[in-house]
């Protein structure tokens, strides 16, 4: 049983010392917890219309801590729902794209030769397409508003970089002795793939995973902003910001609340990702 203690415990130690990453982790945990639990404590649900308090600024109306929107819906609850939706979609899309990317890259790296060439050529061509175009086309064509389709469309562009990273790692691993030994022992290729290659490429992939989640949140917000992602009355940070931007001259809090939420979310995810990357590869700094 190979001892991987060296890399992981070192990384953990470095991560613990990184103050920015620690703050980011705490912030992220707070936001995620709030998004999951807090709506229970509020008397409002995300689509309840409070006719008494239309477009009220934060703190002025009963139990509407962050104000209401044009239709009288509580902004705090909607923003929290938006955070929840964005996180869930992003994690789902990231998981799918990581799965596809790791398998694709590992197979390409292991197979080598022309299969590898063909598979990576495919990746290169897809890479040259502006990703947003593909996502826009996919989401407008196949049922607007379906969250599963949205997640799949997001994943469809995310797997490319993962595939590239994994392939490079696989190529490096291929020359290591333990793989030669496995092959000499007659271990079948699929077992080599699953039992030896995949666990060893997970390091860089894990780091990339923390950076891909904010990217997915960004894509999804782009799409919702353009009207293609999450549809009303469901709340996503993207369409909340869109609605807020329209009311910006008379009700700036409608823009600022979801915008701040989005920025905090992205910031903490990115800082955490940076911290993880520095922890695994301190040469970067």
């Amino acid at each position: 049983m190979s001892s991987r203690r060296g890399l992981w415990s070192d990384a953990r130690r470095r991560l613990r010392r990184d103050r920015a990453a620690r703050t980011a982790l705490v912030l992220l945990a707070v936001m995620a917890l709030a998004a999951l639990i807090a709506p229970v404590f509020s008397p409002w649900s995300y689509d309840t219309l409070d006719w008494q308090h239309l477009a009220r600024p934060p703190g002025t109306a009963a139990a509407h801590w962050l104000g209401t929107d044009r239709l009288g819906r509580d902004l705090l609850v909607r923003t929290l729902y938006g955070v929840r939706l964005s996180l869930v979609l992003a994690i789902l899309a990231s998981a799918v794209s990581l799965l596809i990317g790791v398998l694709w890259g590992a197979v390409a790296g292991l197979a080598g030769g022309r299969i590898d060439g063909a598979m990576m050529r495919f990746v290169d061509v897809l890479y040259s397409l502006p990703y947003l175009f593909v996502v826009i086309i996919l989401t407008t064509l196949f049922t607007r508003g379906s969250l599963i389709v949205l997640a799949l469309a997001l994943a469809a562009v995310g797997w490319l970089t993962t595939a590239r990273i994994v392939r490079t790692q696989t190529l490096a691993l291929k020359r290591r002795e333990f793989l030669e030994a496995a092959r000499a022992l007659g271990v079948p290729p699929h077992a080599i793939l699953l039992r030896h290659i995949v666990p060893n490429v997970l390091g860089p992939v894990a780091v990339y995973a923390t950076l891909i989640v904010p990217q997915m949140i960004l894509f999804e917000s782009f799409l919702s902003f353009l009207g293609l992602g999450v549809q009303e009355p469901q709340a996503s940070l993207g369409n909340l910001i869109f609605a807020g931007a329209q009311e910006m001259e008379s009700a700036p809090w409608m823009l600022l609340v979801p915008a701040v939420a989005l920025v905090l979310l992205l910031l903490s995810l990115n800082l955490l990702g940076d911290g993880l990357r520095d922890a695994f590869d301190p040469r970067e700094r």
Partner: protein, 307 residues
């Protein structure tokens, strides 16, 4: 090197062909057609419309017809805006979108790289923290957040600049959009330049240049700058992709009549030639600009050509 460049340009065409084919397949496979929203169209009328536009032919035939049109430079008619061909529509919007994109890239380069150099040279712990903070914000503030925020500050409160819209020949309408698009890019470029320059300045060849008695300025300009800019040049590729896609959102936020809205609206309307035209134009543009960025890399460090 010229031969290599020409070979790269020639390789663009098969890639473009694949893009065309894949897009064609995806769009056609989607449910719904361009004439579903026609008011009061009986099936006979709809069938007639499809016949006129050649949509009743089998898909491979339509594909070949489209390719033949492309070879002539004809992108086909717009199925929704019936008075215009796709070329006319894209031609109308492209100058504005191109201006927006180019100005944004230029602004980002002019502000990002020098500030990165300055940050690398002026080493103070407080500056380091500030730079890191700006860099982190640059990643976390997407253009559709910066845009409305800038419009709020400069358009609504200060009333210095128009909030949205466009008037031909009035560049003040472009200030906020260009700023919105350029800011994240400038932040990223600045961070990249600073990190790269710092690393190059630590290299042995810089140390030996200094040991030979060369002045600091000469060391910087003649020796350190070129290799330091290499990662920046290779970042230009993704940067261009960012500008292309970001311009879609910026045009939506500020209501600019560029080509961005054609893609979204075209896909919703199932206006096949329009969407295909947009994909081809933007795809070709991205490929071409990426090639230019690669050439810039090669000029900065010819070693990268022998991969």
């Amino acid at each position: 090197m010229l031969k290599l460049a020409l070979r790269r340009v020639a390789a663009l065409i098969p890639t473009l062909l694949i893009i065309v084919t894949v897009s064609f397949a995806i769009i056609r496979l989607a449910p719904g057609g361009p004439f579903d929203e026609e008011q009061g169209a009986s099936p006979a009328v709809r069938a007639n419309l499809e016949r006129v536009y050649g949509l009743d032919q089998p898909l491979p035939v339509q594909y070949l017809r489209y390719l033949r049109g492309l070879a002539r430079g004809d992108f086909g008619p717009s199925l929704r805006q019936r008075d215009f061909t796709v070329s006319e529509l894209i031609g109308r919007g492209l100058p504005l979108s191109a201006t927006l994109g180019l100005c944004a890239i230029a602004l980002a380069l002019i502000t990002g790289i020098p500030s990165g150099i300055a940050a690398a040279l002026w080493r103070s712990p407080r500056a380091d923290v500030a730079i890191a903070a700006i860099g982190a914000l640059g990643v976390a503030l997407p253009s559709f957040v910066i845009g409305p925020l800038l419009a709020l500050v400069f358009g609504v409160h200060l009333r210095w600049l128009p909030v949205a819209g466009w008037e031909a020949g009035a560049p003040r309408y472009l200030v906020l959009p260009v700023l919105t698009l350029a800011l994240p890019l400038a932040a990223a470029l600045s961070r990249l330049t600073r990190a790269s320059l710092l690393e190059v300045l630590r290299a042995p060849f810089v140390r030996s240049a200094r040991a030979r008695g060369l002045g600091e300025a000469r060391v910087l300009w003649h020796h350190a700058l070129r290799p330091a800019l290499l990662p920046v040049a290779s970042y230009l590729g993704p940067a261009i992709a960012f500008v292309v896609t970001g311009s879609l959102v910026v045009e939506a936020v500020f209501g600019l009549p560029g080509t961005g809205r054609y893609l979204v609206q075209g896909a919703i309307d199932r206006d096949y030639p329009l969407v295909m035209g947009m994909v081809i134009v933007y795809g070709a543009l991205t490929l071409l600009l990426n090639l230019l960025a690669d050439l810039a890399c090669g000029w900065l460090d010819p070693g990268t050509w022998h991969e």
